[in-house]
Amino acid sequence: MSTATLAGLTGAILAGVGLYGLIIHPDPLRRILAFNVLGSGVFLLFGIIARRGAAIGALADPVPQAMVITGIVVAFAATALAVALLIRLGAQTDPVVTQADKQDLARRADD
C-alpha cells in the first residue's frame, strides 16, 4: 500500500472518529477538539489528492496544498472564536461570581 493511500485511509478514520466525538460529547470544549480532529482528517484527504497529483517539478499538486493551508488557518480562527464563545458562556453561567449571586442562588434553590 502506498504512503498516500495509507494516509488517505487514516484521514477517513480520523474523520469518523472526530464525527463520533462531535456527536457524543455534551461538553463544548470536547466538541471543539473533536471538530478539529474531524477537520484534520478531511485535510489529510486533500493531502493525498495533492500527493497523487504529483507532476514533473512538483512533488505534490500545489492547489490542494494551498487549500489545506488556508483551511488550517481558518480552522484555527474558528476554534478561537468557539473557545471565546465558550469562555464567555462559562462566565455568564458561572454560579460563583459574587456573594450576592451566591445568596440569590441559594434562595432560588430553597424555593
Binding site: 493511500t5 495509507l6 494516509a7 488517505g8 485511509l9 487514516t10 477517513a12 474523520a15 469518523g16 472518529v17 464525527l19 466525538g21 456527536i23 457524543i24 460529547h25 455534551p26 461538553d27 470544549l29 470536547r30 478539529n36 480532529v37 484534520s40 485535510f43 484527504l45 493531502g47 493525498i48 489528492i49 495533492a50 500527493r51 497523487r52 497529483g53 504529483a54 507532476a55 514533473i56 517539478g57 512538483a58 512533488l59 505534490a60 499538486d61 500545489p62 492547489v63 496544498q65 494551498a66 487549500m67 493551508i69 488556508t70 488550517i72 488557518v73 481558518v74 484555527f76 480562527a77 478561537a80 472564536l81 471565546a84 464563545l85 465558550l86 469562555i87 462559562g90 462566565a91 458561572d94
Partner: protein, 314 residues
C-alpha cells in the same frame, strides 16, 4: 518495507492519539493528546511531500492551538459542570458509533477508488509559474492564481477577531485580553522569553522570505512571529495590548486592506481585479505578502488572547 513500517506506525500512533482525544474522560488529557497529535500530523504531511502544509501545521496546529486550548481548559477548570444526564445512553452510543464508522468507510472507499491517473493541476501550475516570478508553486497558488481566496481568508481572520472581541462584557470593551500568563516575573520563563524571540523572529522572517522559492510563506512566517509575541506575553514581559489601541487595529487590518488595494489597482495596471502587472508580478506579490505577514503576526495572538477581560485603564 521499512518505509511501510514507518507509515503504519505513524498512522497507528496518530489514530491512537485522535481516539484518546475524543474518548478520554477528563478534558485536560484530551487536550494534551491533541497537541501531540498535531505534532505527528506534521510528520505525515512531510511523508506526503507537502512541506508547506507541514510548516503551517507545525506552527499553528502544534504551537498556537495548544496554547489556546490548554488556556481554555485551564480557565474552565472547576467551572465545568458534570453533565452526565446529557451523555447519550449506551445503545445510542453504539448506534452513533456504527453510523460514524459508516461515514469513515464511505470516505475510505472513495480513497481506494480514486481515479488513476489522478487528476492534477500541477502541470498548469508549473507551466505558468514563470509569469509570477516565483519558484514555490504553493505560494503561486496562494498569492497569484487563487489570490481572491487568500484575500477573503485574510478578511475571515479579521472578522474572527471582531467576533472574539465583541464577546467582551460591556465594562471590558476597549480593555485588554489575556493569555495564560506567568504569575510572577523573573526566573526561567523570563529568560526563555528573552532568548527565544530574537532567534524566532529571525526564523519567522526567513520562512516568510524564502516562501517565494522554497517551502514557506506569509502564513507560516507570520504564525511563527505570532508565536514569539505570544511567548513574550505569556512570560509577562509585555502586557497584552488593549483592543482600543490604534496601532493594533491598523496592524490587524493592514493585510486585507493592502491586498484589496492592490487588487483594485489591478484594474488600472493589468486590466482585472487582483491582476498583477506583467513582468512586475513578483515585487507586487512580495509587497502584499509583507503586510499579510504583519497582519497574521498581529491577528493570531489576538485570537489566542480571546475577548478582553479587563476594563480599560482610564
Amino acid at each position: 518495507m521499512i518505509v511501510q513500517t514507518l507509515d503504519i506506525g505513524l498512522a497507528a500512533l496518530v489514530l491512537t492519539l485522535a481516539g484518546y482525544t475524543v474518548l478520554a474522560r477528563a478534558t485536560f488529557p484530551a487536550v494534551v493528546s491533541y497537541v501531540a497529535y498535531g505534532l505527528l500530523l506534521s510528520l505525515i504531511w512531510v511523508r506526503l511531500f507537502s512541506v508547506d502544509v507541514a510548516l503551517t501545521e507545525a506552527a499553528i496546529g502544534g504551537g498556537l492551538t495548544g496554547v489556546l486550548l490548554i488556556g481554555a481548559a485551564g480557565k474552565r477548570r472547576g467551572t465545568a459542570v458534570a453533565a452526565t444526564e446529557l451523555d447519550p445512553t449506551q445503545p445510542l452510543r453504539w448506534a452513533i458509533m456504527a453510523l460514524c464508522a459508516l461515514a469513515a468507510l464511505a470516505l475510505a472507499t472513495v480513497v481506494v477508488s480514486l481515479p488513476d491517473p489522478a487528476p492534477t493541476l500541477a502541470p498548469q501550475a508549473m507551466e505558468n509559474i514563470a509569469t509570477t516570478g516565483l519558484g514555490n508553486p504553493v505560494t503561486a497558488v496562494l498569492i497569484a492564481y487563487r489570490a481572491f481566496d487568500t484575500m477573503l481568508e485574510k478578511c475571515v481572520l479579521v472578522i474572527a477577531v471582531v467576533g472574539v472581541w465583541s464577546l467582551a462584557c460591556d465594562r471590558c470593551w476597549g480593555g485588554a485580553p489575556d493569555v495564560p500568563r506567568a504569575v510572577a516575573r523573573g526566573g526561567t520563563l523570563t529568560f526563555f522569553a528573552q532568548v527565544l524571540p530574537p532567534l524566532g523572529i529571525l526564523i519567522g522572517i526567513r520562512i516568510f522570505w524564502i516562501g517565494a522559492d522554497e517551502p514557506g510563506g506569509a502564513f507560516q512566517g507570520g504564525a511563527i512571529l505570532a508565536a514569539m509575541w505570544v511567548i513574550i506575553m505569556m512570560a509577562g514581559l509585555t502586557d497584552v495590548p488593549a483592543i482600543s489601541k490604534r496601532w493594533l487595529r491598523i496592524a490587524l487590518a493592514a493585510g486585507p486592506i493592502v491586498f484589496l488595494g492592490v487588487g483594485i489597482l489591478g484594474f488600472a495596471a493589468a486590466g482585472g481585479f487582483l491582476a498583477y502587472p506583467h513582468g512586475f508580478a513578483k515585487p507586487v506579490i512580495i509587497f502584499v505578502e509583507i503586510f499579510m505577514t504583519l497582519s497574521i503576526a498581529a491577528t493570531l495572538p489576538m485570537l489566542v488572547g480571546g475577548a478582553p477581560i479587563r476594563a480599560p485603564r482610564p
